[in-house]
């Protein structure tokens, strides 16, 4: 049998902070994956898909990284039930490309289609439909996991349910997810019937949110530069899958126009400098984005891509932040008042977030290390301003933890172990299961070491 090619490669998450040198292999098949794992020689191991988590969740600087992006075979599909079994390196985008023409959509999609199924499970990703559909893991029926023992085990709600539970949202720390069986969602079309509504402040946001419960998908952009009476102004977007008749009326609406604005602003490989995104340009952008949308409500039928994946059209938009990279801060807080406090800290910090997204989650708390729970989530992208930014984020951590909120590990690069424990009270139960399946801590990541999630 040929041995695996191991090579040291620079590896980073989507935020390009931090960047580490990692010993990587890129198997082409399931059997090569098992071979690579067996050659670990006592080193820690981590699977890495497309590197779309932001921080160090998919990085392992001392150990071996198995790149899973070439493991993308579709193994079984039932046309009548919409149940699909695929290898973990298949992307959400590929699933849509193959199955949308047959009337099936991926039940939960994140803001980019370039994530792998394995990554979607590991981070138990959420989408704009959390209130109606829960997380990605809720639509997974079973998985095959390569365990620390070298065994490949199938787990589901009925079989090794503890492993199943700990792997969903388990940040890749229970084993390498080799394949998953997913329930797709039947849709009449890929188009989205949507409304976008401009709101003047946070109160209006919450009000529209409450009135939008019968919309399957909701999300809003907010301007977090503005303070005072206009703090939390933004644009609310809500939608549902369009019927075939509606899809026929698909039109170039205001959403495409704002999306285009963002895309133009981000088309930034040309700006490989740290000068492009500063407080002034971010303020300008936020003004333009807000005013581009007419006051009031707009109704349109749009394609799924600008609705779900507005930034995917800009390849490598993460490079717009220059060499220093950027940090995303996504938190959920169960109390609305806390959102106001958080926005206030940010607005006063003079550190502007370029793109800020706000949304109300459904009530479901998925437990373990899964992020979503009842409350309001806010996602902020900050250019890496260095120490002052980290200091502000620590202030935010305290605010978030204080009200029983948490931050998203899939986007984290700097949370302390102590804060993490306050934010995720279910972590110990998760850790117990993890340790049962991997007592030696074979599976690790830079994130797991930082947060004390794995032995050693």
């Amino acid at each position: 049998m040929t041995t695996t090619s191991w090579a040291s490669k620079p590896l980073a998450g989507w935020g390009r902070y931090p960047i580490v040198e990692a010993l990587c292999a890129r198997p082409e098949s399931q059997s090569q994956t098992l071979n690579a794992f067996n050659e670990r020689e006592g080193d820690a191991v981590l699977a890495h898909g497309f590197g779309r988590s932001y921080g160090d969740a998919a990085l392992l600087s001392q150990g071996r990284v198995v790149l899973t992006r070439r493991l993308k075979k579709m193994l079984a599909f039932d046309e009548t039930s919409g149940v699909l079994r695929v290898e973990a390196g298949v992307t959400i985008g590929e699933l849509i490309e193959v199955f949308l023409p047959r009337g099936w959509f991926v039940p939960v999609v994140p803001g980019t289609q370039f994530v792998s199924v394995g990554g979607a499970i590991g981070c138990n990703i959420h989408g704009k439909n959390h209130g109606h559909a829960g997380c990605f893991g809720d639509h997974v029926l079973s998985m095959e996991v390569l365990l620390a023992s070298g065994e490949v085990v199938r787990c589901s709600r009925a079989q090794h349910d503890d492993l199943f539970w700990a792997t969903i949202g388990g940040m890749g720390l229970t084993g390498i997810i080799l394949s998953a069986e997913i329930q797709l969602q039947a849709v009449e079309s890929g188009a989205i019937e949507m409304e976008s509504i401009r709101f003047n402040n946070l109160d209006e946001f919450f009000q529209i949110s409450e009135e939008s419960t019968d919309y399957f998908h909701t999300v809003s952009w907010i301007d977090c530069v503005k303070g005072g009476s206009q703090m939390g102004r933004g644009i609310f977007m809500r939608g549902r899958h369009a019927s075939a008749e509606q899809a026929a009326t698909l039109s170039e609406g205001p959403l495409e126009r704002v999306v285009e604005l963002v895309q133009r602003a981000l088309d930034g490989r040309a700006f490989e400098s740290n000068l492009l995104l500063n407080r002034a340009t971010i303020r300008l952008f936020n003004e333009a984005y807000y005013h581009k949308h007419p006051a009031g409500e707009l109704h349109s039928v749009v394609g799924y891509e600008p609705f779900f994946f507005p930034l995917d059209a800009v390849e490598n938009w993460n490079y717009v932040y220059g060499k220093r990279g950027f940090l995303q801060y996504q938190m959920v807080v169960p109390e609305r008042e806390a959102v106001r406090d958080i926005l206030k800290v940010i607005s006063e910090s003079k550190m502007a977030s370029f793109l800020a997204v706000i949304k109300e989650f459904g009530d479901q708390d998925h437990g373990g290390l899964s992020f979503p729970c009842g409350g309001t989530t806010l996602a902020l992208d900050f250019p890496n301003f260095g120490e002052p930014l980290l200091a502000m984020m620590e202030r935010l951590d305290a605010l978030v933890a204080e009200v029983g909120g948490r931050i998203y590990l899939g986007k984290d690069a700097r949370l302390s172990a102590e804060m993490f424990r306050r934010m995720y009270p279910t972590w110990e139960a998760w850790r117990e299961v993890r340790d049962r399946w991997d007592p030696q801590g074979v599976f690790q990541s830079d994130l797991s070491r930082r947060l004390g999630l794995t032995p050693g």
């Binding site: 040929t2 191991w6 090579a7 890129r26 082409e28 098949s29 399931q30 993308k72 579709m74 193994l75």
Partner: protein
């Protein structure tokens, strides 16, 4: 219409299979890793709604076994219109120098095995007076280099063999195409740190598909390798010996 892919688990082979399946051809995936070939077949069936099946295949098997494979494939999926010889084995140069058994394996997989299976395919294509054989050779077969001459010489021999086969089959209406591959993003190049750009298997597959459709006889991919090899071949032996290439 059926395409037979030999060495079907390599990334280039898989990408080529994708392109032909997308064009609606039935696909026979032949590989040593039978289980993986079966998985790849299910992938093609689901993605493209075509017929696809995995077959066991070892380049080092005898000619009879290769001929049997060809008839098994034709029985299952119909006449083979296109056959792609995609397998190859770089081996380890140092190990091959130390142990002839290792060198022999490199030669047999890349040359003898390829010739054997091409003959088996050519036989059925000639009998029908139609078909296309694609051989994946390498720029390494253009000039003997200290660092990989076992692999290089086997690929060089394969290039010559395909040339001869092409000449023989021209009158039988069977097309033979030689693809001289440069750096493609595969396990062979994963460890390399090279200043030369590495092409994606997907792009290589699209180029192979197009070239086969147009009846191209021999081409470099990526194309700029034609220029690079022109230069490398023109370096006098005296000088070449002193370059550590």
């Amino acid at each position: 219409m059926t395409v037979l892919i030999l060495g079907a688990t390599s990334p280039i082979a898989q990408a080529v299979a994708d392109v032909y399946a997308a064009a609606g051809l039935s696909v026979a995936l032949a590989a040593r890793d039978v289980e993986e070939a079966a998985r790849a077949a299910s992938d093609l069936r689901i993605r493209y709604g075509v017929e696809a099946q995995g077959f066991g295949f070892d380049a080092c098997d005898a000619f009879e076994r290769h001929a049997t494979l060809v008839s098994e494939v034709e029985e299952a999926l119909g006449p083979i219109d296109v056959a792609l010889v995609a397998f190859g084995f770089m081996g380890d140069q140092q190990a091959s120098e130390d142990d002839f058994e290792k060198a022999r394996r490199v030669i047999e997989i890349n040359y003898t095995g390829a010739v054997s299976v091409c003959e088996a395919v050519a036989r059925v294509m000639v009998s029908r007076g139609a078909g296309s054989i694609i051989g994946l050779s390498s720029v390494a077969g253009e000039r003997g280099r200290a660092s990989n001459y076992f692999y290089g010489s086997a690929k060089g021999a394969l290039t010559l063999y395909l040339q001869g086969l092409r000449n023989r089959l021209a009158s039988k209406n069977v097309h033979v195409m030689t693809v001289k591959l440069g750096f493609i993003d595969t396990p062979m190049t994963f460890e390399l740190e090279t200043g030369i750009p590495v092409a994606s298997p997907k792009k290589a597959a699209a180029a192979i598909f197009q070239a086969q459709g147009r009846g191209v006889e021999t081409f470099y991919y990526p194309r700029f390798w034609g220029g690079i090899m022109g230069v490398i071949k023109s370096i006098p032996e005296k000088v070449f010996k002193r370059l550590s290439l």
